[in-house]
């Protein structure tokens, strides 16, 4: 399940395990510091072993699979964009992932601008002139792709780390033939 080599992604929701059974005393939540420790040491090791581009690709792909999984398991097949946004906002606040807001949603061009405040990955990090929420980029792409059935390109245009108080993501349809 976790050790076999693979060509396609094999993540399943069940891989998260039975939390009620597994953590009867500690419960399903953890400290953000632990999450970030995992994320940034992982990023560090990935860059060290494969370079920045690989690290970003890994985070994007992982985020995208997570987005698709969340869409499938937590969002209750929303009928339209309004319902999708509402359900995503609700789940994300419940899970403590961040406060999601929409700034633009052009349903004809499928062009979206979303912001995430109090983001799990980056809120509170030192300023460093580089946006780092690659996982979130993948995550948003995964959600939109699951909902609309077309591939998306998502870019973090503003980040806490570049001096903004919210992370701002721009999503546009991706030419499926482009790499």
């Amino acid at each position: 399940m976790f050790q076999e080599e693979r060509v396609d992604f094999k993540f399943e929701w069940e891989h998260l395990g039975n939390l009620a059974l597994g953590r009867p005393n500690l419960g399903p939540t953890t400290h953000i510091a632990l999450y970030r420790l995992m994320q940034f040491t992982l990023r560090d090791a990935l860059i060290r072993h494969g370079g920045v581009e690989l690290a970003n690709r890994v985070f994007f792909d992982a985020g995208r699979n997570a987005g698709a999984a969340i869409y499938k398991h937590l969002l209750n097949a929303p009928k339209d964009m309004g319902e999708l946004v509402r359900s995503l906002q609700r789940s994300f606040e419940e899970l403590g992932g961040g406060i999601i807001r929409v700034e633009e949603a052009d349903l004809e061009k499928n062009h979206f601008v979303l912001t995430v405040a109090e983001d799990l990955d980056c809120s509170g990090l030192p300023l460093m002139d580089e946006a780092i929420c690659t996982y979130d980029e993948g995550f948003i792409a995964g959600i939109l792709e699951a909902h609309l059935g077309i591939p998306f390109r998502v870019r973090e245009v503003d980040c806490w780390c570049t001096g903004d108080r919210v992370c701002r993501f721009e999503a546009v349809p991706r030419d499926p033939t482009a790499t």
Binding site: G82, E103, A105, A117, G163, D164, R165
Partner: protein, 305 residues
């Protein structure tokens, strides 16, 4: 920093701060050959502060003029607060647009008192809209209901019949349509008054409603004329129903001011001929009704006799 004297250089920085406080920031000239000391560093920081001040100024000015698209590279906590507000307002713009497009589930969860007002506005809008929809629905019902008898009126009957007849034609079926009329209704009005006439009309409507099915069209066509159409039922069923209705009406006791008013009806019955105009069917049923009247009233006449 042209003046090499330390005191004069400190003076220059001090003046620059004073200008900044007056809202007239102007950067200090830091020459390459000026001494590399703390005063130089102070001047450099001062200049950075000017830049931050400018960014903040530009952002707040843009915001105060209603622009939400400004891009501010400012790093001061105050600049961040402005950007936070910008993001919140941009989301609010989207939410307002959603409300305008009919999504009344939008609620604002930030911006304090404003959020409360916005949310109560949307709730009020929702309530008003629902009240209007309900009123509309009631109006629609009123428009197709006869106020006196509570039966469908002519307009409502026509709408439903057109629907049912299309369905019947598609199924290759000829449903029955009957017109009926209270015998000597003028005499009822003349003898007992119009109030009695209304009592008779209501009593008849009650008998018709009670003896027809939910899916039948049972309407007050106008005056003392009533119409019944039984979807999916042909002439044979219609004739039996018409005869039963005629008998029930005759048996039914109508009392007005402790007096018994005798009421009978005459009925003309026909079937809807494939794709003909609805009015033609009604005219044919009317023709049979007049035959029933001429033949002595309190009887049923139809296509077969």
């Amino acid at each position: 920093m042209l003046d090499p004297s330390d005191a004069a250089r400190v003076d220059q920085v001090t003046e620059a701060i004073a200008r900044l406080l007056k809202g007239q920031p102007s950067p200090l000239q830091v020459d390459a050959d000026a001494p590399q000391d703390e005063i130089r560093q102070l001047a450099v920081y001062m200049n950075q502060l000017f830049i931050e001040f400018d960014h903040l100024n530009a952002a707040i000015t843009a915001l105060s003029q209603g622009s939400l698209t400004f891009d501010s590279p400012g790093r001061l906590p105050a600049a961040n607060a402005v950007k936070n507000l910008q993001a919140a307002l941009r989301h609010l713009v989207w939410q307002t647009r959603q409300v305008a497009e009919g999504d009344f589930t939008q609620r604002v969860s930030f911006l304090g008192d404003f959020a409360t007002s916005f949310n109560s506005m949307v709730e009020q809008l929702t309530a008003n809209r629902e009240a209007l929809l309900e009123q509309n629905r009631l109006l629609e019902v009123t428009a197709i209901t006869d106020a006196l008898t509570g039966l469908t009126n002519r307009r409502g009957a026509r709408e439903r019949m057109i629907l049912e007849l299309h369905r019947a034609v598609r199924a290759g079926f000829a449903p029955c349509v009957m017109m009926m009329d209270i015998d000597h209704f003028k005499r009822v009005n003349d003898t007992w008054g119009h109030e009695a006439g209304d009592v008779v009309l209501k009593a008849l409507a009650g008998v018709l409603k009670k003896n027809t099915r939910f899916e039948d069209v049972c309407a007050r066509w106008g005056g003392e004329e009533f119409l019944i159409m039984a979807p999916e039922k042909g002439l044979e069923f219609g004739l039996a129903l018409a005869e039963r209705l005629r008998a029930r009406v005759e048996e039914n006791v109508v009392e007005y001011n402790s007096q018994r008013i005798p009421v009978t009806i005459s009925i003309g019955i026909t079937t809807y001929w494939d794709a003909e105009d609805l009015d033609a069917t009604v005219r044919r049923a009317d023709g049979h009704l007049y035959r029933a009247k001429n033949a002595g009233r309190n009887r049923v006449c139809g296509d077969l006799g």
